[in-house]
Amino acid sequence: MPLDDHEIMRLVVAGRAELFGELVRRHRPALLRAALSKLRATADAEDAVQETFLAAFRAQQTFNPVYSLRGWLWTILLNVCRRHVRRAPQATSLGEISFNREPFTTTNGLSELLAAERSAALSELLDRMPEVQADALRLRFFGELRFDEIAQAMQCSLNAAKDRVRKGLEQLAFLAHQNSSLCQEGDRT
């Protein structure tokens, strides 16, 4: 039976540092997805995730098992991403994305292109929202965190975490609607 996160962390703190790799394997994909959505550049996202794990490894002694390890990692990631954003402006916007690929000749290629556009459009909309709401959505939908974990990662109450997700969805729906209206107007003219 696989060990849970807390058990692994306990063993890491006890000196079995090699087990930390298992935590990286478990949490890296979700952290990377959210970091990529926030930073928009693959290299920056990978750096941010690596910094997150490094910080967690360094601060292993301070981890409090009362809280969720996932929430702790996400707290670190959000802080690291914020620092990255402050340090450098974001790499791309929807209009600047270039598709550096072979010509699309298959249906698969076309669907990749469309999905890439949708992904970029979503990141664009999230960037236009208040940061706490956008982060709450990233944690809930990209990281699949529970509300108590979101509350822990964002250092707010459970109700505030739910409220941020609710307002974030409202805002995103509004922006999506506004965007599609603009596109339709553009098509007409």
């Binding site: 090699e18 790799g21 990377l32 550049a41 994305i97 598709f99 890439a116 949708r118 979503l122």
Partner: protein, 230 residues
């Protein structure tokens, strides 16, 4: 199921289609409205969110949850020994510490430049009637022409700029002299910030007395303020 639990399920990427939730929605108009209102956002997040991530060049990193797992396994399998090894994390930590140290040095250099520049301006601004000779003395006191060990670059440059680009003083010079002052400062900036200037390196400043033209170029000569005799 209460509305609070329904909200949890509505906003859960993996439980949105739960049968219990569907049953609750049939009997709760408030939650139905909520789902209707969130629909465009949920659709967007479902389509473009988890499992689909693209780099800035549009390259696909991961496609679906399944391929994400597969991809990650492959990635971590490739780097399994890397992540499992404490030495890896120690090496990364050392690398980050080095990077932090270098960034700290950069910030310190910039701050000292700003501080010296402010001090220079404050000295000049304190008394508008400061005689040119006095200003020139302040300037040349820190000048690398004298301080040839090459370490006081930023403070010396701040002094050059503070004095030589003082418009109230420069307006007293002839047009020709003014152009020469600006050319001189430009050369200061070029050398002191180690910008590339063909044939001149910072280290060359140590040989200033050997060949002044190497430092001051063809149109200059030493400090124009001193040369003007004021």
């Amino acid at each position: 199921m209460n509305c609070d639990r329904a909200f949890d399920l509505i906003t859960s990427p993996s439980e949105q289609h739960d049968s219990e939730l569907q049953h609750h929605l049939q009997g709760c108009p408030r939650c139905r409205d909520l789902v209707e209102m969130f629909a465009p956002a949920l659709h967007l997040l479902e389509e473009a969110g988890p499992g689909v991530a693209f780099g800035p060049d549009g390259e696909m990193l991961y496609w679906s949850s399944d391929s994400l797992e597969g991809n990650t396994d492959a990635q971590t399998r490739r780097g399994a020994s890397r992540y499992d090894s404490p030495e890896y994390w120690q090496a990364v930590e050392a690398q980050q510490r080095r990077r932090g140290y270098q960034e700290g040095l950069k910030v310190a250099a910039i701050l000292s430049l700003i501080a010296m520049f402010s001090v220079g301006l404050a000295i000049i601004g304190r008394d508008n009637s400061t005689p040119l000779a006095q200003v020139a003395a302040i300037t040349t006191e820190n000048c690398l022409r004298r301080d040839t060990d090459g370490k006081a670059t930023a403070p010396a440059l701040a002094a050059c700029i503070a004095c030589h680009l003082d418009e109230s003083e420069n307006s007293k010079l002839t047009d020709d002299a003014n152009i020469r002052v600006r050319a001189l400062v430009q050369r200061c900036v070029t050398c002191h910030l180690e910008l590339k200037r063909p044939g001149t390196e910072i280290a060359d400043l140590g040989n200033a007395t050997a060949n002044d033209d190497d430092i001051w170029g063809h149109s200059g000569g030493p400090c124009l303020r001193l040369a003007s005799g004021s």
